[in-house]
């Protein structure tokens, strides 16, 4: 009998460790004991399934999904688009991608955000979509502003969009952040710098995509998301009885 293949082990060297003292909040929120490594059972290779009934067509347009009729949020109009692929470079179709972000002034629409930049009455700051059969997704939004945060007294987050993705299995669940090419705050940010690998940071940096830019209308940035891949099941039956 054919058994479903397991997911590739997560390469912890490209992910931030739990304890990163430069990002102070991690100190009291990082487990100290080693993680216990589990091989995949049915609990890990399965995960929630989403469909087009879960989201509405306009949920991916942050320029309009909270704006009053005939109005728009303030800021640079951008398209953020890309594909969700796995480590084997296969597209991940029908997967839920959710984003949230500050407005162009760097302020979140959140009870707990007290930054002095104003709330934009026409900007909610969240969007969601389901990837198509090629793993492709796109959002329309405004480029978020940098904002200060309490870590060291003069820390500023680079412009970023928070991104949440599911994949097909609970082991692929991922939350990350999308940065923008050329932002001088990227190398200065203690949260970005929790990632120990320069290429991995570059992979989280959206690139200007001039070809997808709509002339006289909207600048485009390209951001691909890579989830864990799955082993081939070709010879899996040989393991039977292990």
């Amino acid at each position: 009998m054919m058994k479903p293949g397991e997911f590739h082990q997560r390469d912890r060297d490209i992910h931030p460790p739990a304890l990163t003292p430069g990002y102070k909040t991690s100190v009291a929120r990082s487990p100290r004991y080693s993680l216990i490594s589990l091989q995949n059972s049915v609990s890990e290779i399965t995960g929630p399934v989403f469909g087009h009934n879960d989201v509405d067509a306009g949920d991916n347009d942050l320029l309009t999904n909270y704006a009053k009729a005939g109005q728009s949020p303030i800021g640079e109009r951008i398209i953020l688009h890309g594909r969700v692929l796995d480590e084997n470079a296969r597209p991940v179709p029908n997967t839920l991608v959710e984003i949230w972000q500050a407005n162009a002034g760097g302020r979140y629409r959140h009870k707990k955000d007290t930054y002095l930049a104003p709330i934009d009455p026409n900007f909610g700051g969240c969007g969601r979509t389901v990837t198509d059969e090629n793993g492709y997704f796109y959002f329309r939004t405004v480029k978020p502003g940098a904002y200060p945060w309490r870590n060291y007294v003069n820390n500023w987050r680079p412009a970023h969009i928070h991104v949440s993705v599911f994949g097909t299995a609970f082991v692929q669940r991922l939350i990350t952040q999308c940065y923008f090419e050329g932002d001088p705050f990227i190398p200065l940010c203690p949260i970005v710098q929790t990632i120990p690998d320069a290429d991995a940071i570059d992979q989280l940096t959206a690139k200007l995509d001039l070809k997808a830019t709509i002339p006289l209308d909207t600048v485009a940035y390209r951001f691909d998301i890579i989830l864990r891949g799955r082993r081939s099941t070709l010879f899996e039956n040989r393991l039977e009885g292990n």
Binding site: Y33, L174, A200
Partner: protein
């Protein structure tokens, strides 16, 4: 068949930050935007099995409840099937088995209603005791933490569970077992998740 030797690398994780609610539970952030937020109804109206409530706290290394956590739950139905093509069998109409909860901003308490899952098939042989799979993200957590919650009233199944038995330190297995109490005739399981300290919860690298 073409071989893919040029593997891509998984995107690196980043903290969900303090404003995770805006994206994933905007109602809690204080505004109404989507027709329907996802993850509120785990079991749906038709699920068979025992209706239960699960509650708890996530406690940091200072012993304080964390008030800005988001947890996701992934579970099988009462027959031990996940709502997924490889989930082991069919599930009831409306059973999703996935949920998303956030903590109360003032107290750090979280809780959700669901049905108690059944035993699921083991990786190679045997079965796994009933359990919930949990994923925890928050400000200060750089990569989501995976753990499992087992049920204190499943003594026999827990004793045979392959994952609990994999934990070398027997005293640490108890960190994954929720205690059962009754409130207004409803079974309530209490589960404290400790990020540090002697009773640090077991977390998994899946």
């Amino acid at each position: 068949m073409a071989k893919h030797l040029d593997y891509l690398r998984e995107s690196a994780s980043q903290t969900a930050g303090p404003y995770v609610h805006i994206g994933l539970a905007p109602g809690a952030a204080g505004f109404d935007i989507y027709r329907r937020e996802l993850g509120w109804d785990i079991a749906g109206p038709n699920a068979k099995g025992e209706r239960i409530r699960v509650e708890g706290l996530v406690i940091d290394g200072m012993g304080a409840p964390i008030k800005d956590v988001m947890l996701e739950i992934w579970q099988a139905n009462a027959e031990g099937h996940y709502a997924h093509p490889e989930g082991g069998g069919p599930v009831e109409e409306g059973f999703r088995g996935w949920g998303r909860v956030i903590t109360d901003f003032a107290t750090g308490e979280w809780g959700f209603d669901t049905v108690k899952p059944g035993k699921t098939r083991g990786r190679n042989i045997g079965t796994q005791a009933p359990h919930l799979n949990l994923w925890i993200v928050a400000r200060g957590i750089n990569i989501g933490l995976n753990t499992r919650m087992y049920f204190a009233d499943e003594v026999e199944a827990n004793a045979k569970d392959p994952v609990l038995n994999l934990i070398e330190w027997e005293n640490r297995r108890a960190t994954l077992i929720a205690q059962r109490i009754e409130r207004d005739g409803l079974p309530v399981y209490r589960f404290e998740i400790r990020l540090q300290g002697e009773a640090e919860t077991v977390f998994f690298d899946l």
